[in-house]
Symmetry: C3
Subunit: 140 residues, 3 copies
């Protein structure tokens, strides 16, 4: 639950990369086990998800075209012993209308990412009965 | 206005809790007087607000169902001598459409929260003529 | 790419200021060369942009009225040797519908901003063929 601050990274993802994969690879290569992620920019043909509780998995919403990445917000923690990014995105179209959800994938046109590494007892995602992989709940 | 960094917290809120109350109670119990808050996850039956300036209070928008919590962003500062969270949320429905505003309440299905404590001269919310409780304005 | 933490600022922008200009002026006056920005609040008559790749510039979407500033997220880096803020915003109307994109301008009603200064080799925006001014891409 409680962490101290590690390294801070601010960078531009190369055009053409898949955003979520890039964050995961970046975390692996730089040994960022736990951290927070935020980003803005532009994504192409993003796929977002809506979790369907009765089915226990994500409904995939495939968008076509170019979207302003209004917000990408999330975290990096351990899953299957590797750093794993969980990111939610809001996306703006050419009329300023906003769509969004759980990020599944998105092709980077321009993405400017901030990653704050956290140091402490690692949070680990464990499979739950509802189909999600989650950290243990905190208690007050 | 200026702060140094305190403790950093990253945790999952227990399912079924009311999100805003939980953040306030967490802040009280852990003595987080000033801080920033960000979160993603899933909320059920959230209530959001739109401030109506002519009336001096929030119009309540009650949503039914389950929403991806695309972004929760805000701060913790003092109000009536206790830590008080001010959070704005964007919420995604099953079609990826996004609704949002000032968070009034939301039932947690899954919420992953990051709280960064800040240390310094406390910001305090004071009642204003317009009906809001706000910190003093900064000056350049 | 890699930074250490500098100063942290949490403050309320005076009512009536233009949000983006205020952040840029604040950064100049306080010598914040590199940093992250996040904010919530309320903006009036905001102008947002959607980048049109074929034209190489932003289509401007002018909104009228008062909007909950649901999220303002972005960064401060160097452009033409001065601190320059790049911010994306999501905005909620009186029905909770959300619009958003690249922030061009917005009149502050209430804005609560968090700026985290970063210290390290400055990121600099350079003009690209596509019409944008961007940092060098990172490489893995």
């Amino acid at each position: 639950m409680r962490f101290s601050k590690g390294r801070a990274f601010l960078f531009r993802v190369p055009e053409g990369e898949e955003f979520l994969s890039f964050v995961n690879t970046f975390a692996k290569k730089n040994n960022v086990i736990i951290g927070t992620v935020s980003a803005i920019g532009t994504l192409k043909n993003p796929k977002i998800g809506y979790f369907e509780e009765d089915k226990g998995n994500y409904k995939v919403i495939s968008l076509e075209g170019t979207y302003e990445l209004i917000s990408a917000l999330g975290n990096i923690t351990l899953k299957d012993r590797a750093p794993f990014a969980h990111i939610h995105v809001s996306l703006g179209d050419s009329e300023g209308k906003v769509l969004g959800g759980h990020l599944i994938e998105g092709e980077v046109f321009v993405v400017e990412v901030f990653i704050q590494e956290l140091l402490g007892e690692p949070l680990e995602r464990k499979p739950q009965e509802n189909g999600l992989a989650l950290w243990d709940e905190v208690s007050l």
